[in-house]
Symmetry: C2
Subunit: 842 residues, 2 copies
């Protein structure tokens, strides 16, 4: 019962019946404009002629004429709730406008009936103390409401519970470890699984970060031993290179690119290859580990019996209108224009880079000239980042608009398709610029004398002399870190705060009367909770993490520190998410779920995709393969000495095309035999001048062979990892066996006792069975479902625990219905309590 | 009841109780040598201190001194059977030696108790006429027998049922379609699934064969338009080639290889690439289709509730000692020597080919010389085939020997590991020579002037001038067709027939007394069935099909007719298997199974492997890529003209190494500028004479790129196929929904009636409940489990059907135990029959 004033709000005015749901509707006789922006439709499910409507509705009027009809509909709705066995409490004073709250209490009978429909597993025998089952019970009490006509009014579920010790407890524990059982207890399985998944992911990021740091340190340590970068920095070698732009750019010495060459080595070294393989296996391990964790959770949350079909039935039984309207939650029916948006943005940034590079190169200021590359790269990446963030939001808005045009369907695979499409969009948005740098930049620039031009005047951009990998690395780190920082700070914290402020401000600005009224009586808990932001689904949370997972897995070959940054982000992310869920949002529905659904498939698909991406990054973006080929096919000494010379082709200045609109600079003062450029082409004096050389084809074959080798090796090892790690943890499978044995023992005992009973029954056939002690409990069996335990449950958690325990006993007894000597059955038959009794006890 | 004399053998001497199992033991006081070859051990399961032994044992004595102990053990065993509720009938006359048969009858109580343990699903409501559930019941009656000490005697399960209409029906229907429901009814789910799987596989082979025929026809049709083979056959071009062997071989004209070139084109044309992609998708479709079929079968056989854990429990509850001792069934603990056997066999055949080729080439007979290649290839393939067949048997024998050294464990994953290992061995055995031809033959032969020699004198063999693909094709077709023909005819039919003959002969040859005895009274059905071959598990059947699946999927790019041959084989195979199961083998245990277990994983793994194998066959074994490269990179006209010239390198005769032990022939009469050889190498006049040319590297890069493209494209398409085809067929999922709705309706009705009942109960609390009509049936509920239906079941099928229907009603009633107005419950409560009653009715 209500022990203190704080939790009294959780109960009806009688202080006994608990408030399970709160219905809100607007009386809008006078004020008919307000709230019009939250106009939604009742969903209608097509299942076998029944129209099912979600339990809690926020009823709004579209216009005054339908007010009367609305009242009728509401009355019918409430009548059906009562018919389904719910109990109801209205505000004592009748208000003519503003939100009205109707509290619902779900009695024990209804709870157990619904629990039976959903076949919720409850423990029959437990060696360990029984886990807390309260929230399942809250979830399962969604009755279904047929025959509500589909008219111009909306349904919004609103849950309002007191901030009780529960929440503080949850928040207080987040600093140390994740109390997933408590999260599941309070928020339901679906959100519990999200936090559990986030926990497993973050936990597994720790070894990945550590290995990443080691790989990075290896790069730092060996940078002074790396022959190619030493050769590039060697001013003795003095390679004169072809100009980087037409007309205004001069010939330049390779040794000026010493810095990027050294930086490149930090990320482009043999350890990176090892790291890429390691991370691919890490992904496989992560997926397997999560499967195990999921099965463990399923077991400890007693979801093992929740079959696929049952889940379908839940959806069918009480269809949930699609309610995630949040940013990123509802990109569906993505049309080609939106994809075009991303590609044109990427292309726009490329053009920006080309043009700005050319313009800056033409600047007379030598300071500007020398900083061209750094300035252009940095600004371009930041522009990319901003574009990504803006497009993310635009896609969200477009999706909301598209969703509101449609009447949302109720099927569960609707959400799946939606997520998949949203994922593809966000994926392209986040990775398109990175994919461009990794695989396309500099590949279509042509060669000296035959450059590729865009808009007639501007040469296609090339990679830095140190290789494209360092640019990929910069791009990746800035986008990853920037996106996470900005999205975490601005969107995860700022926007909800802002929304809350706006809500509060709106609530204040309505009318003076109301405010007076509010001042007159202290606001109930449901009034306070109503000001919170509605829960908008887990999709944005998952989406953010999945995109991050992409940074960690897809391009990890080019940026070994990605897991570290992801880890740092997630440690904060868990806290922020927890804070948001507990303090910023209305309490979400507890939704039963056995797994994380489509997200697992996306993760797994991403893992597969990461193998091929990493293979291509290593073999085509990094210099790993050319170095190997040089060392084992061309080097005279078997060392890397001479590698830079080997990668540079010769050019004859006289071959600069004369018809070009821009003039090329004259040779430097010293007579210049042939400037160099980075490519494998035949020298000018060859019969096939400037054609790809044999080395080019050999390196290409080696690159491709490496891709095949890497991909198949990693796929094989991943399969091996998945095969070696059993899906079901050993302790769980053993426990299942033990439980099964116990159950068989019980059955066997029952069997024997049954035979004895039968004998005694047949022997006493003619006697009146009324007096027979063994048959007495059969009469009382039907009570099992409709009554609680004899002993009084205490407090909120205690009550729901007791409810569930009673349900467990009821089910157990049902299963044991043939057994006359079942203690549980006897116990139940001895307690003649009905609801009233139970609540008196409370 | 026994309507005719034929089926009387199925019953105890009272003609009522059906014979469910037959125990056989040998009285061997006098004859202690006979049967010693069938010496096995009782298995002991380590489950929680209980020692469980399978129901039916064939007890044999190792030596006379333990005879007394044996009798004790047998008596204890039989006592435990009786304790478990089984009924027993012994032979009336006591025989002092020879096999003794003890018949077991499993009463209805035991059946239903075990059905309850295994949670066998039975229909509660059926719109369609109820399916036949008799054989599940036969299966579930395996009680468990603890505490049988593990001594020197053996267990062999022997089932003996009359040949009834069932079997004839099964055999008669095989010509048209597979009566999987009847197979399942008679043999149990596991064998039913095998035949269903075989059916799906064979059915899907039809489109594959058709496409294969079309591809082959395309090859036949275009053979006269194929420019490369026309060029090869063109005597105008007159390419003079380097000799094929040292010393005795002459220079030769390429146009003499015209035949193989034309034959090559039949299998090596662009349609083959399409076919390889098609077949990879076919594999994906097959796997998905089978998944659907499996779910359909699970549904129609009511196995949906059979969870993974339950299956474990079956294993745990009544552990089955590993009983597959057949050929191919039990290769476990495969040691390296056995693998070495395969490789040395392959190597031996290679050496044979090299040596015989050289010897035949040295033969003075020109007839012999001209037939070298045909003779050597044909004989070598036949040797390969014979070696494969012999090694298959040797591996089987080795495995049996190894298995008998070990005490077989009882866990189900033991069988899985066993199958996996056996599969790997058979796989290598069957495919090693094919893999050699596809990927290794001719790759290490060196070049003119620098040949690779084995044993100093013999050059490594090269591929035919038409390419290795035609050799691969010959190898594949002969091994595939030959293996199947020989294994089907000799092993599947011949060996069982032979075994039966030996058994019959042994049975006859024992003693005169016995034969007289046999003549005196007509042999019972169990005596006749005892002469049949024991069932040795499905492993050999699956193994044969899986290896065939490998021929169809792995190398299909080189032999488009493989599906056709597989189809032809399987149409016969289904009949032969059915005939064998029905007439040659003792009736196997009906084993419950939800899927085909590890075989699905093997199929799926083979599908994955086939993608990479086919990619390599197309890009490296066939001439597809070199042709493409020539057409688009080198051809002046954009056609294939000049391709043959392009693929042949030049050689300078003076570069033949002088130190070779064999002398090369002098140039032909006409002055020979440079003979040609098939390779991409620099000409003798180049600076890098005989090094790989740029074309070599370009073609290599193209080959590798094709592998990557093909592999990833096919993997992506396969994923798409798996994603597009839903696992659960639509009609099944709809039916599940409908059933769920019906169930919910029933529950709701019960709920309401329960409330009414409660009210009436409380109102009549003080009255004696004895007379109350609504509560009356609760008293009789415990009877539900131990009694059948009121109406008499007829015949064998009818009886078991009725048993199951009764079980269904009993479970239904149990589930509905709260419902006072349940008709089924009422019906049961009104029938006071016990077993005796039921059997009287029979």
């Amino acid at each position: 019962g209500p022990q203190d004033g704080q939790s009294s709000c959780q109960f009806f005015s009688d202080g006994r019946r608990k408030v399970d749901y709160v219905l809100v509707f607007y009386q809008r006789k006078q004020i008919s404009v307000r709230g019009g922006d939250r106009l939604h439709r009742l969903s209608r499910s097509a299942g076998d002629g029944e129209v099912c409507v979600d339990l809690a509705v926020e009823v709004e009027l579209e216009a005054d004429p339908v007010e009367g009809e609305m009242v009728l509909i509401r009355e019918e709705f409430e009548a059906r709730l009562l018919e389904a066995g719910l109990e109801m409490e209205r505000d004592t004073e009748v208000r003519v406008y503003g939100p009205s709250f109707t509290r619902l209490h779900v009695p024990w009978q209804v709870l157990s009936r619904e629990a039976e429909f959903l076949k919720i597993k409850v423990p029959t025998k437990k060696v360990s103390p029984p886990p807390l089952y309260s929230r399942v019970c809250v979830k399962v009490n969604q009755p279904f409401q047929p025959n509500i006509p589909q008219l111009g009014h909306s349904t919004t579920k609103q849950l309002s519970h007191c901030f009780s010790r529960d929440k503080l407890h949850l928040y207080g524990a987040f600093y140390k470890y994740q109390p997933v059982d408590l999260i599941r207890k309070y928020f339901g399985e679906k959100i519990g699984l999200y936090f559990a998944w986030l926990g497993v992911y973050t936990q597994l990021l720790i070894p990945a970060s550590m290995v990443g740091i080691i790989v990075f340190c290896y790069g730092c340590y060996t940078v002074d031993m790396d022959v190619p970068s030493l050769e590039m920095c060697d001013k003795q070698q003095n390679f004169t290179m072809c100009p980087l732009c037409d007309g205004v750019c001069d010939y330049w010495h390779l040794s000026t690119a010493c810095g990027t060459a050294r930086a490149s080595h930090l990320f482009d070294n043999p350890a990176t290859v090892f790291f890429a393989i390691f991370m691919s296996l890490w992904v496989a391990t992560f997926l397997e580990h999560w499967k195990r964790r999921q099965i463990s959770l399923n077991h400890s949350w007693d979801l093992t019996g929740l079959e696929e079909e049952e889940v379908h039935t839940i959806t069918y039984h009480t269809p949930q209108p699609h309610r995630t309207r949040g940013r990123g939650g509802t990109h569906h029916y993505i049309s080609h224009p939106t994809f075009g948006l991303t590609f044109s943005a990427v292309f726009g940034v490329i053009v920006y880079r080309i043009v700005v590079s050319a313009l800056m190169a033409m600047s007379p200021d030598p300071e500007t000239k020398s900083n061209v590359r750094v300035t252009v790269t940095a600004t371009a990446v930041i522009i990319n980042l901003v574009v990504i963030l803006i497009l993310d939001e635009i896609y969200g808005a477009v999706a909301v608009w598209l969703t509101e045009l449609e009447i949302p369907r109720t099927e569960s695979n609707f959400e799946q398709h939606l997520i998949l499409k949203a994922f593809l969009l966000k994926f392209m948005n986040a990775y398109a610029p990175i994919l461009y740098v990794a695989f396309f930049k500099g590949r279509f620039a042509g060669r000296p004398g035959d450059y590729v031009y865009v808009f007639n005047d501007y040469r296609m951009e090339e990679c830095a002399p140190g290789g494209c990998l360092i640019e990929l690395c910069i791009q990746l780190s800035i986008i990853m870190v920037g996106k996470q920082l900005i999205q975490n700070n601005v969107f995860e914290i700022g926007i909800p705060k802002l929304k809350k402020l706006i809500r509060a401000w709106k609530g204040k600005g309505i009318s003076l009367e109301e405010r007076e009224e509010q001042r007159a009586r202290p606001p109930q808990q449901w009034n306070l909770d109503y000001t919170l932001v509605p829960f908008e689904g887990l999709t944005p949370e998952y989406m953010e993490m999945i995109i991050q997972f992409g940074f960690v897995s897809l391009f990890v070959a080019s940026f070994p520190l990605a897991p570290l940054f992801a880890l740092l982000n997630n440690v904060i992310e868990i806290r922020l998410d927890a804070k948001k869920f507990v303090t910023e949002l209305r309490r979400p529905d507890a939704v039963q779920a056995k797994d994380i659904g489509i997200w697992y498939n996306i993760l797994s698909g991403m893992g597969k995709f990461s193998v091929i991406i990493n293979a291509f990054v290593i073999s085509f973006t990094s210099d790993f393969i050319p170095r190997l080929v040089y060392q084992y096919m061309y080097s005279q000494t078997g060392t890397m000495h001479g590698f830079i010379d080997h990668t540079l082709s010769h050019f004859n200045v006289s071959n600069f095309r004369p018809e070009g609109s821009l003039t090329f600079p004259k040779p430097l003062v010293t007579p210049l035999p042939t400037p160099r450029y980075k490519d494998y082409r035949e020298p000018p004096w060859s019969a096939e001048a400037y054609q790809f050389s044999k080395t080019y084809w050999a390196v290409l074959a080696a690159r491709l062979a490496f891709v095949i080798l890497f991909q198949n090796l990693v796929m094989f090892l991943s399969l091996l990892v998945a095969w070696v790690i059993p899906d079901v943890p050993k302790n769980i499978s053993e426990q299942l066996k033990r439980e099964k044995t116990l159950l068989v023992d019980v059955f066997l005992r029952e069997e024997k006792e049954k035979f004895h009973l039968l004998q005694s029954l047949f022997s006493s056939k003619d006697q009146p069975s009324q007096g027979h002690p063994d048959t007495a409990h059969f009469r009382t069996l039907p009570l099992g479902l409709s009554q609680g335990l004899g002993q009084p449950p205490g407090g909120e958690g205690g009550e729901s625990r007791a409810r569930c325990r009673a349900a467990s006993f009821s089910q157990f007894t049902r299963q044991m219905s043939m057994s006359p000597s079942n203690n549980a059955g006897r116990q139940m038959s001895m307690s003649p309590s009905n609801d009233a009794t139970r609540h008196t006890a409370v």
